[in-house]
Amino acid sequence: MSVSRDDFSIAFRSALLQRGATQKFSIFSLIIVALVVFFLDVYGFTVVKTARSFINDVVYRITYLASAPTRLFPGINQGLASHFNLKKENEELRRVIERYKAQDLNLEYISNENKNLKKVLDTEDVQSVSNVVLAKVLVDRNSPFLKSIIINKGSKKGIIKGMPVTQNKYLVGRIVETNYLSSRVLLLNDLNSRIPVTFDEKSTQAILTGGGTRKPSLTYLPEDYQFIEDITVFASGKDGIFNAGTPIGKTTENGEVKLFVDPNQLSFVTVNLIKPSKEVF
């Protein structure tokens, strides 16, 4: 019994402390270093923040260069995906044609929606978008846990945390991390994303909640709310961050929102230099 305990402790110690002939560090020492780095970063000391910002800028640039080979064959993945989705796409296109045929009937509905949005715009304290920054997407790594992108503009261009990010005036997400030359954008479908929105002719208020899936869902709706498909969802601007009336996507019958901008297909985005009332996230 004592022999087996000795064996265990020898193997355990050896695994933690032993170094190979060419290895400079033991696992134990590196675990300690990693823990120190982790807590310094989590508790956000200014020196660490500055160092991290510098490291981020350097690593994002290297990532952009290192990803060049994968950019040479962008069609492969998309080709495969479109092949699998061909039937679905066909059905969807048929539905779109039907929808366009019925466009005349929708006209009244759209004008109602427009009237309501005008009301929203009149009542909210809207800050005009006088200044925007066009940014290129540097890194778009598809993580299973975090849905974010890195853009090539940072605090040097006046970007701060919380600023809304759009593409073709459709909302994409918001800035959650800024470095001197780059920033991280949290996408609308990330689990950490929460946006106050408004939609339909009654100007129903809700929170658009990301779930880590492709389509974020609508939460905090009025009781017994019945979802209607294909209604445009807009940012309500109640958080003082996003412009009221910024279009986001269309509702589906199960309470999700199909985004106007596919978060996996971003190459250029616009950062609206609106100063949020306070830095968020």
């Binding site: 002939a21 060419t22 780095v37 807590f39 994968t70 689990l191």
Partner: protein, 170 residues
């Protein structure tokens, strides 16, 4: 002779280069466009396999650095991936110290332990010390697919080892 040596060194550095490349590039093993729930942590498989088979090719210093780079690219708090990779490295080292000969089945079973320890540490640190929220369902799928596909990569890496590095285990 020098040229052969260089080629051998290059082949021997293959796993490490792959580890660094996966950490720093946009290349991901998350094929959610095709199959929404599919995601895989290939870095952990690479580390575990090579620590068991050829620890001299996968130094802990490199593993630590690859983890740091991964954190920067993914937007996690610095050091969290390094910790999780080092735990995998530690379990691998321990298993190697305790076993004389390994098979695909024994490696698969011990990999489960390494993966559970690594993920437990990763997500409990993230949950308790960071504001980043993470879906537990995604974690489950990620762990499942990483474990499920381990034997496939074990065979692939074994073929690589036999063909380019040498058949002898550490």
């Amino acid at each position: 002779m020098a040229r052969v040596n260089l080629i051998n060194k290059l082949f021997a550095s293959g796993p490490l280069i792959l580890l660094y490349y996966l950490s720093i590039s946009e290349l991901d093993t998350n094929l959610e466009k095709l199959f929404e729930v599919f995601s895989l942590n290939l870095q952990i498989i690479i580390i575990y396999f090579w620590i068991i088979k050829r620890p001299s090719l996968m130094g802990p210093g490199h593993i630590f650095l690859a983890g740091l780079i991964n954190d920067v690219v993914m937007g996690f708090p610095l050091g969290i991936s390094s910790l999780s990779y080092l735990v995998v490295c530690f379990v691998g080292n321990y298993v190697r110290n305790k076993s004389v000969n390994t098979t695909i089945a024994s490696d698969w079973f011990t990999f489960l332990i390494a993966l559970l320890f690594a993920n437990l540490l990763f997500f409990s640190l993230l949950n308790n010390f960071s504001e980043v929220a993470i879906s537990y369902t995604k974690i489950g799928y990620n762990t499942f697919f990483t474990l499920f596909l381990f034997p496939v990569f074990w065979l692939l890496f074994n073929v690589y080892q036999m063909s380019f590095i040498g058949a002898q285990d550490a």
